[in-house]
């Protein structure tokens, strides 16, 4: 007999599975439908496996390039590329199994298959071959189908030589040359990973700087650092075409009116992602779609179709796993009737895990000025931090943007070791409406890198101690 659920969730990524667990906790009879392993891109083909790969690169980088500073040298330092890839895959598999367990623990049903809308209350599930294997009815359906790598005709992805991030993390062998098109977080992380392992990497970015959404000072600092690591960077550069020439790819780029031809074994197309809005009968429902994203009310996450909700990458930027999870929780709690403060989309941390790491939240200096704020900047370099000195991480700085009128923390930008961990404090500070004074007066443990945040706040008030 056809099963009836309170909530059915289409997609088991960080949006879908978290929503499912929360729904289970709140007592909803819930099913999550996912064609592959639970955890989505994040756990299987994104956040987690790349962090695993990057750790290899960091370790190798530390020993090879800085080992001598610490008195550690190796006569012959080698690595096994395939083992690096295998380690990454194992980690994804392990965590995905843990998620399956969590789903079960919270009494959520799990159907492996591809779900399609039959009506607004009914989903049919198909296997890989397209055979219908199941169908469920549900009072509410949450779409959490995620996104996939965006492609453009000029860069014809063949998944072998012209690849997306998914292929980049399971290459059978290390490429000698790699061209990365797009200098967002994904492009930059792969550029760092492969460059450290010895691949000749060129990064092509259309906008003025790499990590173009970050504060300009941060981008410039990272450019300096990357250039030191012999990564070629072409900014304000447009890719005209990429064509396969024998076993190599030739990329034609326009930079400042000049046309250049570059060749590489592999070309990584990392120009962004786009919502998964096709192939599962969304058109039948009449759900409103705008620029490949489902339109929702950003407090309830309900679409224009009553009873149909959408969360995560499929509703558009900022395309981040942590946002999808929070949207999932709020969506389900809203269905339960619990009151929530809506997500503050201007207080979402963004992280890039190259070395030095980059993390930020809130306004960049430019955006704050454009928004009409009279800004006060607090900066503190890692160079002046005792802890950074002790651990040999003197590259980077903290930059805090305050509103000069009320000393509100408008934005925070960190480049340097552990930046992605340090950012949590500032996000919390913003969430709880801290001011420059209150951050400065919060006792930070010594010696820690976190002291740089306290000092940067003090610096904004002209009261920094160590600078």
């Amino acid at each position: 007999m056809q099963k009836q659920y309170d909530i059915a969730i289409l997609g088991g990524g960080p949006g879908g599975y978290v929503a499912a667990i929360r729904a289970g906790q709140l007592g909803f009879k819930t099913v999550v439908i996912e064609k592959a392993n639970l955890g989505g891109i994040c756990l299987n083909w994104g956040c987690i496996p790349t962090k695993s790969l990057l750790k290899n690169a960091e370790l190798y980088d530390s020993i090879k390039n800085h080992g001598a500073d610490f008195g550690i040298t190796a006569k012959e330092l080698t690595f096994d590329f395939n083992k690096i890839i295998r380690r990454s895959r194992n980690i994804s598999d392990r965590i995905s199994k843990n998620v399956e367990f969590l789903i079960k623990k919270n009494k959520v049903d799990r159907i492996r298959g591809f779900g399609k809308f039959k009506s607004k209350n009914e989903l049919e599930i198909f296997d890989e071959k397209g055979t219908k294997i199941d169908s469920v009815k549900a009072g509410k359906i949450i779409i959490a189908t995620g996104a996939h790598s965006k492609t453009i005709p000029a860069i014809p992805v063949d998944f072998k030589n012209i690849i997306t991030s998914k292929e980049a993390m399971i290459l059978p062998e290390q490429p000698e040359e790699l061209i990365v098109i797009g200098a967002g977080a994904i492009g930059i992380e792969f550029a760092y990973f492969y460059a450290i392992l010895g691949t000749k990497v060129t990064v092509i970015e259309m906008l003025d700087h790499i990590l173009p959404i970050e504060d300009e000072e941060i981008s410039k600092e990272l450019e300096k650092s990357f250039k030191k690591r012999k990564i070629d960077i072409l900014t304000k550069a447009t890719v005209n075409k990429a064509v396969l020439k024998g076993r190599k790819v030739e990329v034609t780029v326009s930079v400042n009116g000049e046309t250049k031809k570059l060749t590489a074994d592999k070309v990584l197309c990392a120009i962004g992602v786009t919502g998964n809005v096709e192939g599962y009968g969304l058109d039948k429902l009449g759900a409103e779609i705008y620029k490949n994203s489902i339109k929702v009310n950003k407090e309830t996450y309900e679409t224009n179709v009553h009873g149909i909700y959408a969360i995560g990458d499929v509703i558009g930027p900022p395309w981040l796993a942590h946002v999808a999870s929070h949207e999932g929780i709020r969506c389900v709690e809203g269905i339960k009737g619990l009151k929530n403060k809506p997500i503050d989309y201007n207080n979402i941390p963004g992280c890039t895990y190259c070395q030095p790491q980059v993390a930020s939240v809130g306004f960049t200096e430019r955006k704050a000025r454009e928004a009409g704020y009279d800004v006060k900047i607090g900066k503190f370099p890692y160079m002046a931090s005792g802890k950074a000195f002790a651990v040999g991480e003197r590259e980077g700085f903290v930059k805090l943007i305050f509103d000069a009128k009320y000393n509100e923390l408008l934005g925070a930008h960190i480049i340097g070791a552990e930046a992605t961990e340090l950012i949590a404090e500032v996000v919390m500070a913003r969430e709880l409406e801290a001011t420059a004074e209150s951050i400065m007066k919060t006792v930070h443990a010594h010696p820690t890198l976190a002291e740089t945040i306290m000092e940067a706040s003090a610096q904004a008030l002209g009261e920094a101690i160590h600078i």
Binding site: E408, L432, E433
Partner: protein, 549 residues
């Protein structure tokens, strides 16, 4: 030594010197009153911290200065006073952490202590705590004691705590017995430090700093964040709400009074006022869409007209400037009238049973417990019971939220001649029986009339009783004591002929009849609830059972 304007409560930041009892050159004894101050909370007399001669008076009568300002200088004839013996005083031990970090300094102090007899004073357990009771001595005279070993246990109205010995040595003399209550700063014990004979006295402020810090932390964690430290100007920083540093910064920059802040509806987590909320409030205020809360408006109303309006006079007049208390009463009354929608109901209560009980038992109670039985204790008791039955009457209104208090602190209006009126309250009145209430009422009245009230006494009330019956008034329409929502007026019990039913027959008899009037805030308490409350009080009093005393 310098004598400073004392801090008379968490939120009191300044005080006015009303009267100097001493002039320059006068000799004063320790604890002798040297001046009287008035703050917006309470008037009080300030005793001298030490024996000596007044060498300078820096603030004139009538002047208002900030807390901490030096008001006079006392030459102490070499006797130790606060601040003077910083280096040599033995009792200074801020905390064990400090002691361990700063071992050298501490060792020096101990060496100094080794030569003397140290006097340990009753510690000050919070800003507004003026006295403490020794509950238990852990040591007796002749006992050896280690530094930091508990010496005695004290109880104050804020906290109970153990006081550790500031020094290792032998207990030389115990000056205060168990259960005895003494003023803060009174010497309670003398300790002969190891191997010493020279007499030293620890300055009370310093001896007690350690415990005081703990107590302060325990008493008011919340105040750390409530804005006072961030420099925000507030009439009253006691609040149950959390304000983010940003909200406090904005309110300061935009001149949002604390009363206004308290009335802003919060949309954040658990109703917290967010940046968005306060900014939208400011927008609305600019657009004139917000009524600035009554408290603030009242100030404007009370002060401006009296300055500008010309009063026609047709004979000789005397112009008397209002004192602080009068100004405050004026302000509070106008604010209350503008805040609450006053509705008053009345019942007549037959006080026969209580009257008989008091007449028969008052001597016994007075001789046995030292308690004077009055109608007020019975009325207070009936109110406590009625408040339990109708807890909405024990509430406040905060914006559009009802704050229903789960504690009952009954305010008792006390006329204080010649200044006016003050309303101290009986804390946790629901924990007291009639005898306990009677004792509390007479204690509060005594202390109110003798300027011994503390800020604690007059804050935190939840319901007020005003007894105009003592002056013979039969009934009156009282004004609510904000932020409460009801006040009970007690009229005089007068013997009147009334119709009673005796064995099924109506008869006219003489009974003591007392009118009770309840003024309640119609915003929250409608006529039915007000009447039910009064009925409950009436029935409790009329059906009084002596066993309940």
């Amino acid at each position: 030594m310098e004598i400073v304007m004392p801090k008379m409560g968490e939120s009191v930041n300044e005080g006015t010197i009303i009267k100097w009892y001493k002039k320059i050159g006068d000799k004063v004894k320790r604890d002798e009153v040297i001046f009287e101050i008035s703050t917006d909370k309470v008037d009080t007399e300030i005793p001298s911290p030490a024996t000596g001669t007044i060498t300078d008076i820096k603030v004139n009568e009538g002047d208002t200065v900030e807390v901490g300002t030096v008001v006079a200088v006392l030459e102490t004839n070499g006797e130790a006073g606060p601040g003077k013996k910083e280096g040599s005083t033995t009792g200074i031990q801020k905390s064990s952490e400090v002691a361990s970090i700063d071992e050298n300094v501490d060792a020096e102090k101990q060496a100094a202590a080794a030569n003397g007899i140290l006097e340990v004073a009753m510690p000050k357990m919070g800003e507004s705590v003026m006295e403490g009771t020794v509950i238990k001595w852990f040591k007796k005279v002749g006992d050896k004691i280690d530094r930091d070993e508990p010496l005695f246990e004290i109880s104050t109205d804020k906290v109970d705590t153990e006081v550790p010995s500031p020094v290792a040595g032998t207990v030389a003399e115990i000056l205060v017995a168990e259960q005895e209550t003494v003023d803060v700063g009174t010497i309670v014990v003398k300790i002969a430090a190891e191997g010493g004979t020279e007499v030293q006295q620890s300055s009370p402020q310093e001896t007690v700093r350690q415990v005081e810090e703990q107590a302060a932390a325990a008493v008011s964690m919340h105040d750390n964040f409530s804005g006072a430290r961030l420099g925000i100007k507030q009439e009253n920083v006691k609040s149950n709400r959390f304000y983010s540093p940003l909200v406090l910064n904005i309110s300061q920059k935009e001149n949002i009074s604390f009363a206004e802040l308290e009335n802003i509806l919060g949309t954040g987590l658990n109703g917290r006022v967010s940046k968005k909320d306060i900014l939208s409030y400011i927008e609305k205020r600019k657009a004139g869409k917000v009524k600035v809360p009554a408290q603030k408006q009242a100030v404007a109303q009370t002060y401006t007209p009296s300055e500008s309006a010309v009063i026609p006079v047709s004979g000789e007049v005397e112009k008397i400037p209002m004192d602080n208390i009068r100004l405050k009463i004026m302000e509070h009354m106008v604010a209350s009238r503008d805040t609450s929608v006053h509705v008053t109901s009345m019942v007549e209560v037959d006080m026969t049973k209580i009257d008989n009980f008091i007449r028969e038992n008052k001597d016994e109670y007075f001789n046995r417990d030292g308690v004077k039985l009055t109608y007020m204790a019975f009325v207070a008791d009936a109110c406590v019971k009625a408040l339990k039955a109708y807890p909405l009457v024990n509430s406040s209104i905060e914006g559009t939220t009802i704050i229903r208090k789960k504690y009952i602190n009954i305010g008792i209006a006390v006329a204080v001649e010649p200044t006016g009126l003050i309303v101290p309250n009986i804390k946790s009145a629901d924990q007291r029986n009639i005898t306990g209430l009677a004792a509390a009422i007479s204690d509060l009245a005594y202390r109110a009339r003798n300027k011994k009230l503390t800020p604690d006494d007059i804050s935190g009330g939840t319901f007020t009783i005003t007894n105009f019956g003592v002056f013979g008034t039969v009934f009156g329409l009282p004004i609510i004591n904000q932020p409460e929502v009801a006040i009970l007026g007690v009229g005089a019990a007068i013997k009147r002929p009334v119709v009673v039913e005796v064995d099924g027959t109506d008869a006219i008899t003489i009974r003591p009849i007392m009118a009770l009037t309840l003024s309640h805030d119609h915003r929250l308490i409608d006529g039915m609830l007000g009447s039910l409350f009064l009925k409950y009080v009436k029935e409790t009093l009329e059906n009084f059972n002596p066993i309940s005393v």
